[in-house]
Symmetry: C4
Subunit: 124 residues, 4 copies
């Protein structure tokens, strides 16, 4: 299949709850950026995180192999730094190959139950 | 009415919970791809499923008749193979006629209660 | 303000639960099409409803005044016929003036609590 | 990073529950407009609120600094007037610099649990 999508995407919404908030672990939510690479070349992806009160964090680097999808949880990003909890953030996803990007928030009360989702904004 | 929409759509998010996860059947969720064919000719649709760790599955073939909508649950796809549970997936929907595609996750605790939805990304 | 938006929109997803399903009235959900007319002329809107197993219903006619929004519940449409419950449907919204259209499902357990939402697909 | 996005966005859906509705404060929901300014110049944003039965309110003015995101709750807008509760509304977001806009509804039962989200409609 040809490589579908765009090389630049933005997601203005993002929030990781403070660890102390969850009275039970069941209520923890996770935000994920779902990326699809339909093409024949691996896509090298860079994510930049924007905040309301400090300079951006990143770049966070990852690879989406050819003909594969990668559902990356923001909570799992650690290099160059974890995304701080209890702070509003936004993200920009850049790729050297076309990809398609969807933003999803999961509620782990039930395994992988999704609470919201939207196709990201393509900036190309 | 003229045939509205596009011939290629992508949905990066997808997940079918493992059967063993649901402590009660009520918590099972279903993902659906809602397709609308407003035109006067039937649309022959092909769905390809992408994964994070294996080659794509499909093609899954179906028809959306003229002036009809088809709300296809991913869980109901069986030919050429069921979509494996407990694995992240993504989908590409291709049609020989223009259609409009929306991604919806349903929560069967309440009949057809929807939990998330987004218009898919049009790749044309 | 100038008239923002498009004259044709599509929403592939739609479902009204059967009356008998709701064990309690609190779980009833309502689907709405939210229309915004930012312009200086009233918009005359026509909605056509598509099904999986019968010919389309409609046209349903309504007016969105200049500089106004109209949040129309599908459940409240009665002329030329109510939308049948327990059937998948889809909708096309056409207007003689540009409008912006968003699809929202409400959960009446809590007043107007929204469960899902997406900007509709613009067909222009 | 270059300034991503558009200068005009629309969100047809909006609703603030009446204060008396919430039997418990836990069920209060909040709607937010999440704005991302990836560029090097601050963005001066104007929000106009449209209703079903009265003239629009606003302009509400705010600034999104360079390389920052602002998650603005509609409930917190007070100048020139609070947004009335228990009324359907819609919003148009205009900026002198490109921004990306996402609409999110939060459920404060759990800190910042999101219930719905969609990228706004870009009007440029």
């Amino acid at each position: 299949m040809r490589a579908l999508g765009k090389r630049c995407w933005a997601i203005p919404e993002g929030y990781i709850p403070p660890a102390s908030t969850g009275t039970s672990r069941q209520m923890t939510s996770h935000e994920a950026v779902c990326m699809l690479n339909t093409g024949e070349r691996e896509a090298h992806v860079t994510i930049t995180i924007f905040f309301s009160d400090r300079e951006p964090a990143g770049p966070y680097r990852m690879t989406v192999p050819a003909r594969r999808t990668l559902h990356q949880r923001f909570n799992d990003l650690t290099d160059p730094e974890p995304i701080p909890a209890d702070k509003d953030y936004a993200s920009v996803i850049e790729s050297d190959e076309p990809i398609v990007v969807q933003h999803t928030r999961l509620d782990s009360r039930q395994a992988e139950l999704a609470l919201l989702s939207t196709i990201a904004f393509s900036c190309d």
